[in-house]
């Protein structure tokens, strides 16, 4: 079920009520586990089995890795975890893609091959919980984390419903300790959590779906090319939409967790105020970028090897990071572009980074604009339905295709107003957290903002549309 639905409202009300009333910590955890499985099964009941199998394999692998001292056997247990997790991910997420590309490859050699359609349904959130469990076994293998003996705790870590299907990707070292002692439920945390849930739903329903989706859908759903201005407007609308959609989900997840007494890490820190692409990745989908850093970039050599090694590590990390988002060449190109931007930026930083003019506010402002423009150009590949269309949109953005406008005056108006407001907010909040803002805002104003968000949610209607990141 999705957060922006009446079903979830009923579900959350029941979960909170029962959770508060249950007497023991073990009973509360068991109830949360059951609720998480109901939450996940509400999409497609059979996939609960997949989640359970993945959980058991990694719990056993972690337990054996903790006990085993023989290096060869330890490698074997790690391999079991890697193969089972990546195998599931590969089959469900990349099976069709690999088959399509294999067919295309053999056809280039003149071999006509038409396999049966695989018809594989992608289990929602599989990329998220697979990465979460992988981080556990790898950390236990590296002896950076002691394995948990409690299968209840481990199962709840894997399936905790607020962040199960779209993150933040939580590390075991951050979450398992929260399961040892009973979490204290405080009225203040409950209220703050509900405020964050409202904020997240406002971002998703009102901003992303209600105000920004139309421009993006019109431009990227157009059967033919669109004018340069409209294509840029559709692209910045998508930039705003995907942020509000995904950050909205993360904000809801953090808020719901707080209501239950748990802390989840930030997943976004005002990414559209980034100066440079490396700064962008410190602010965008933080739980994924840190995962990629710790389990891919650094093992590949990181930034401490030769220049060539660093370039290889960056390019590989970003290409695979792109592919993580979906089984399509569009995502590979999206990741590749970000890798290229990071490599070029790194070279420029080594050469000019210490010059006084490079740190001057006007330079940083220009770099901020360039960063936003590059991120938007990369979003074209993320949003377009296929590569040829993505190239068509990029050509249109450069003014290479003479066509008339298709966005209405009001669509242009709301896109410009919302995206300008969003970017201005990111700039104003660049080095601050929402908690800092709430501390300094008068109480009455918070009440007004909260009520306005609630009314806007009711007036926007809609709801029930899946969050964009569920497909990953």
């Amino acid at each position: 079920m999705v957060f922006n639905s009446l079903t979830f409202l009923v579900f959350l009300t029941i979960v909170l009520a029962v959770y508060v009333l249950l007497p023991s910590w073990t009973a509360k955890k068991a109830f949360l586990l059951g609720a998480s499985y109901v939450f996940y099964g509400a999409w497609n009941p059979p996939f609960v089995l997949l989640l359970a199998i993945s959980t058991v394999i990694d719990w056993v692998a972690g337990w054996r890795l903790g006990e085993e001292t023989n290096p060869a056997r330890r490698r074997l247990f790690l391999l079991v975890s890697l193969v089972s997790n990546l195998g599931l991910l590969g089959f469900f997420k990349y099976g069709g893609f690999l088959l399509d590309n294999f067919v295309a490859l053999v056809r280039t050699f003149g071999i006509e091959y038409t396999p049966a359609a695989p018809d594989i349904v992608l289990p929602v959130g599989i990329s998220f919980y697979t990465f979460q469990t992988l981080s556990y076994t790898i950390d236990v293998y590296r002896r950076r984390l002691a394995p948990t003996r409690s299968i209840l705790d481990f199962s709840l870590f894997v399936s905790f419903f607020p962040q199960l299907v779209a993150g933040p990707i939580v590390r075991a070292a951050d979450f398992l300790p929260q399961l040892i002692e009973p979490r204290r439920l405080r009225a203040r945390a409950l209220g703050w959590g509900l405020f964050l849930v409202t904020l997240g739903l406002f971002e998703k329903n009102v901003l992303a779906d209600g105000l920004l989706a139309e421009a993006a859908d019109t431009v990227f759903g157009s059967p033919g090319p669109t004018s340069a201005l409209d294509t840029w407007l559709g692209t910045i609308a998508f930039a705003g939409q995907i942020f509000c959609d995904f950050a909205g989900y993360s904000t809801c997840a953090i808020g719901i967790s707080l209501c239950l007494g748990f802390s989840l890490p930030d997943n976004f820190r005002m990414p559209y105020a980034a100066v440079g692409l490396s700064d962008f990745w410190r602010r965008w989908h933080i739980s994924l970028s840190t995962w990629l850093r710790d389990y891919l970039y650094i093992p590949l050599g990181g930034s401490h090897g030769s220049k060539r090694r660093t370039v290889f590590a960056l390019a590989t990390t970003m290409l695979l990071g792109g592919l993580w988002h979906g089984a399509s060449w569009n995502f590979v190109v999206w990741g590749g572009l970000h890798g290229l931007f990071l490599i070029v930026e790194r070279g420029l930083r080594v050469r000019f980074g210490e010059r006084p003019w490079a740190k001057a506010p006007p330079t940083r402002a220009v770099l901020g604009v360039i960063t936003f423009a590059l991120v938007c150009i990369a979003w074209v590949f993320f949003r377009a339905t296929d590569l040829p269309r993505a190239m068509m949109h990029v050509a249109a953005m450069l003014g290479a295709i003479p066509v008339g406008p298709i966005l209405s005056s009001f669509t242009v108006f709301k896109t410009v107003v919302v995206v300008t407001g969003l970017v201005a907010t990111h700039i104003a909040m660049r080095d601050r957290r929402i908690e800092d803002l709430a501390e300094k805002t008068p109480t009455w104003l918070i009440g007004v903002v909260w009520a306005v968000m609630l009314v806007a949610l009711v007036l926007t209607q809609g709801g029930g549309d899946a969050f964009i990141y569920f497909q990953f």
């Binding site: 009446l6 703050w192 033919g224 007036l459 209607q461 029930g464």
Partner: protein
């Protein structure tokens, strides 16, 4: 969790225990909820003042409930697909009363090419119903854009209709039964748009869609609202919206007239081939497909005659599919119905039109 090396490209993920800012959050929650509730109640009163009444929204969930009923049916079950004309102009209860058997399943969606839903039924090996397909030539010929995107959204939704979405439907209907403000005309975006009243962009092909003009019940029986049926100003407003929509998109500057004409002709040829295949698949299982054109009047009808003449559209579709076909133009008893906004019948006329259509279908041996 420590990392052995540092990196400037990626952030620290340093986990912190979250602390709520020092504010009376629960009190704020209650006050905000009350304040918001008062504002929403005022808006509900305003919506009713404007003439809106509670009605069901035409959501993919509501459509999916109907689509699920079409699984495993035989020829005794009538299923209606198409766009807004078959949705408005057919009365389901009249159909059941006149013909007997189960209530027809209404699967038409506004602004749609019926091909998408016809193909969905054709792919369903359990389906062998009697399918009446409402054909509006401009929509049936569309190869892309909203006429394809609208119904595709419904079909895709049904294909992965989850337990959570099934549970959502009665909850949503309970609210829609009680609140007039739940209406596409009254969304935040549309309210702001109406208040601003911005002028159209110069040279933009950005056709407006009409205001909400029908009510819907659980069986997806649509009825033209009384306002549209009786208010000439409202009718004129919608007529002016139809005209650019029925003219279709302009030729993109990137193509010559010949290229554009060929692209459209190729698209229509491809669509007819797909219609033919879908009709063949359903009839091969013992099902039936009947094509029907509903009436239009005024400048909309003139535009259809001019831009989509029968010889190029309706006649070719009928010939290619081999399906039995009834056009209102060919039967005197189906003519003479006034369309208040040139494209649809009002709720009372829809009842009489349904009766007469059934008589024609019987006379032709199709029912």
């Amino acid at each position: 969790m420590p990392s052995s090396t540092s990196s400037s490209e990626f952030p620290d993920h340093g986990m912190v225990e979250r602390a709520a800012p020092d504010r009376p959050w629960l009190t704020l929650a209650v006050v905000s909820l009350l304040g918001g509730g008062v504002a929403v109640a005022a808006w509900e009163a305003r919506a009713r003042d404007l003439g809106y009444t509670p009605t069901y929204s035409d959501t993919p969930n509501l459509w999916s409930e109907r689509r699920a009923l079409a699984r495993g049916v035989g020829p005794e079950q009538v299923v209606l697909i198409g766009a807004s004309r078959i949705l408005f102009d057919t009365n389901l209860e009249t159909f059941r009363a006149e013909v007997g058997g189960p209530l027809p399943i209404q699967l038409a969606t506004v602004g749609s090419n019926p091909l998408v839903i016809l193909e969905d039924l054709a792919k369903d090996p359990t389906y062998a119903g009697t399918t009446i397909v409402g054909i509006a030539p401009g929509l049936a010929a569309a190869a892309a854009g909203p006429p394809i995107a609208f119904p595709t959204r419904y079909v895709t939704h049904h294909a992965s209709w989850s337990p959570a979405q099934r549970f959502e439907l009665p909850l949503a209907l309970w609210l829609q039964d009680r609140f007039a403000l739940i209406n596409p005309d009254l969304t935040l975006s549309n309210v702001v748009k109406g208040a601003l009243g911005l002028s159209p962009r110069k040279d933009a092909y950005a056709p407006e869609f009409p205001p909400h003009m029908y009510t819907l019940d659980r069986t997806r029986q649509a009825r033209m609202t009384v306002q549209v049926a009786t208010d000439p100003a409202k009718q004129h407003e919608i007529q002016q919206i139809w005209l650019p929509l029925f003219k279709g998109p302009p030729k993109p500057a990137a193509f010559t007239e010949e290229q554009w004409a060929k692209m459209q002709a190729d698209g229509w040829d491809a669509n007819r081939a797909r219609f033919r295949a879908a009709v063949a698949a359903i009839t091969a299982r013992g099902g039936r497909v009947i094509l029907h054109r509903f009436p239009a009047t005024g400048e909309v009808y003139e535009l259809e005659r001019k831009l989509m003449p029968n010889v190029l559209f309706w006649d070719r579709l009928v010939a290619d599919t081999g399906a039995p076909a009834i056009s209102w133009e060919d039967y005197p008893e189906l003519q003479g119905f006034p369309c208040p906004e040139w494209s649809h019948l009002n709720a009372e006329d829809a009842i009489e039109y349904t009766r007469r259509l059934i008589r024609v279908l019987r006379r032709e041996g199709l029912l």
